[in-house]
Structure formats: structure tokens, C-alpha cells
Symmetry: C2
Subunit: 205 residues, 2 copies
């Protein structure tokens, strides 16, 4: 039983722990010791495999964004019509965010920090996802089914609404007695996706 030494297992457990903790408390809110403890490895292993805390954070964010990008990209390729692609974009993103709530934290955090945190091209991941939507909107425009619009605004409507909805799950639950139905605890993420699709298509049709 090769349980004793296994580089891959160690590396992966570090990533899993770091993803979990960074998503919960942010880069500055987590100590390297805490990550090592959560991962069940010696702290020096983090430096051995990932050089330092910042680099580890970059790897985590890159992985998270790359994964959502690939997921959306793959689902999108299954559709032909721009309007179907648009729905697929929204729905896939929404479902993914629901299944992987850490995504919302990282996206909101990276976007909110405005490139101050890590000067690298960490935003490549964000740009790639945005690029998918740009292509959909441009194609629709060319084919005459969409009116001209501002992709960045549409993009921020979609990812803003979905990420905020996901990341405020507990928050909304805690105030439901005061605000009642308005905070929409019974809402499924599918409903958010449908509203977004509905409002946006009406806007660009």
C-alpha cells in the first residue's frame, strides 16, 4: 500500500485544502499553516511544491477558472443557434456555480480587487470566459437575431447576478424571516438563469 509517499496525492490535497480555505476567507484571511493542517501535510511541502503562498493562490484560481471555462465551452459547442448558445452559457454557468460555490467567491474577489492583488495575467481565465459570451453576441448580431449590445454589460449582468445569488445563500436564509419571500430562498438557480435569459433576450431582440 503506497500510502506513505505519494507526490500526486500530496500536491492534490494541498490544492483541495487551499481552494476550500481561500474561497472561505480570502487570500489574506488564510494562513499557510492552516492550509497545511487542512491538507494534512507538512507546511514545508507547500513551499516545496508551490514556491510560496501567492503562487499557490494563483494556481488555485487558475484551476477554478479554467475548469468553468472548459465546462461552458464544451456545453456551448453542442448548440448551433446563437440564442441557444446564450441560454447554454447562462444555464451552464449557473449550474456550475451552484455545484462549485467557491467559483463565485473567487470570481467576485478577483474582479473586485481590480488587478491590484496579483499583477500577473491571472485574469486570463476571466477574459476567456468573457470571450465566449462576446463570440455568442457577435455571431447573433451578424446573423441578425440580436441587436447590437455592449457585451461587457451583459456579461456583468449575468455573472454578477449568478455569483451574488450563489454567494449569499446563507445570508439570504438568515434574513428570510424579516424579508420573507423577497429574498427568494425557494428560488432554484435554474430560475435565476431563466430570468436572466428572459430579460436579456428581450433586451437584445
Amino acid at each position: 500500500m503506497g500510502e506513505i509517499r505519494d507526490a500526486n496525492r500530496s500536491k492534490k490535497s494541498i490544492i483541495v485544502a487551499a481552494t476550500k480555505l481561500f474561497a472561505k476567507d480570502g487570500f489574506d484571511g488564510v494562513s499557510v499553516d492552516a492550509i497545511a493542517k487542512e491538507a494534512g501535510v507538512n507546511k514545508a511541502m507547500l513551499y516545496y511544491y508551490y514556491k510560496n503562498k501567492s503562487k499557490l493562490y494563483e494556481v488555485v484560481v487558475d484551476m477554478v477558472l479554467e475548469d468553468i471555462y472548459k465546462t461552458v465551452l464544451e456545453k456551448n459547442s453542442q448548440h448551433k443557434k446563437p440564442i441557444d448558445k446564450l441560454y447554454s452559457f447562462i444555464e451552464t454557468f449557473a449550474k456550475y456555480a451552484k455545484a462549485n460555490p467557491h467559483l463565485s467567491f473567487f470570481m467576485l474577489n478577483e474582479l473586485a480587487s481590480d488587478g491590484k492583488k496579483l499583477p500577473r495575467d491571472m485574469f486570463l481565465g476571466l477574459r476567456k470566459i468573457f470571450g465566449l459570451l462576446v463570440d455568442i453576441l457577435k455571431e447573433g448580431e451578424k446573423k441578425g437575431c440580436f441587436k447590437k449590445t455592449k457585451p461587457i454589460i451583459v456579461h456583468f449582468m449575468i455573472v454578477g447576478a449568478i455569483n451574488l445569488f450563489i454567494s449569499t445563500k446563507n445570508l439570504r436564509k438568515s434574513v428570510e424571516d424579516e424579508l420573507g419571500a423577497e429574498v427568494c430562498n425557494e428560488c432554484k438557480i435554474d430560475e435565476v438563469a431563466r430570468y436572466l435569459y428572459d430579460y436579456i433576450t428581450k433586451g437584445i431582440s
Copy 2:
């Protein structure tokens, strides 16, 4: 010249410094020493006036959210028709966020942290702003000019899009050579507000 001792000036300079630094680097990313230095006061003054770092943060967030709430509320009272109130809500929020960019950071951060950071009713401010939109949408529904909708989704569309647009200003500028017109650097915040209003009203009409 009462320049030597002035409790109000000290208290205010601490708030100003704390607002600036917390908005830039987040709660965990700023040290109390840094705030004291920025404010030009002795560190012990922070504890003298605000008890500790967390309490100071609460005061800052409360002030920021209370100010935007009052601003939106006041502008809103100048309109009668729900549709005008809706536009006023979006426009006022957008203009305020543009003029006070730290708002976007705090809102995104507080919403993204999902109530984990500070267990207090820090979210009262967030709820109050949301409450304004709920009233507008409900009134419009009652008067028959709006269809039934989910206020929380509309709210997250608005504040999500505006806050992300504001907080990514530098980020968008830094990638404009690659993504060109799509990132909409030439966009004014008014344009974002108009798009939001346009898409939402089409959705709920």
C-alpha cells in the same frame, strides 16, 4: 489655532483612512498600524475611539452603506411613477458608485463573504437598499405597470453589473489592447444604467 487636540478631527481622519485602505485591500489585508499611519494618528487612538479593528470595520461599512441608502432614498422620493422610480434607483446607484468607488468593493466583499466575516447585522445596510427596490417593484406590480418578478434577481442584476463595472475599471483598461472595444472602456456609467433599465423594463413589461 486648535490644531493640537481635536477629537472629531482624529476620529474622522481614522474613518477616512480606514475606508480608503479597507476598500483597497480588504479587512485582512490592512494592518491597524497602516491605518494609523495613513490617518496620521497614534495607533492607540484607533482602540481608544473604536475599540478594535473589527468594530472599526463595522463602523466604516455601516457609514458607506447608510450613505448610499440615504442618497438613493432621497432621489427616489422625487418621483411618482414606479417606472421613474426604477430608473432613479438604477441611475442614482450607478452615479454614486462611480463617485465613491469604495462602495463597490464593500458591497461585493460583504455579499461575497456571505455573512461569515462579521456575524453582526452588518447586512442591515444591504437589506435597506434592497428594500427600496422591493417597494418599487411591488408598487409597480400593484398598479399594473410591472409584471410579477423576483426582486432579489433584479437587484443582483443591477448591483452586480454596476459594482463589477466600477470595480474593474483599471482591470478593463489594462486589457483593452487585447480585447478592444468589447471591454467598453469608453462606456460611461450612464450607459450601463441605461442598458440595465432598458433590459429590465422590457423584461417586466
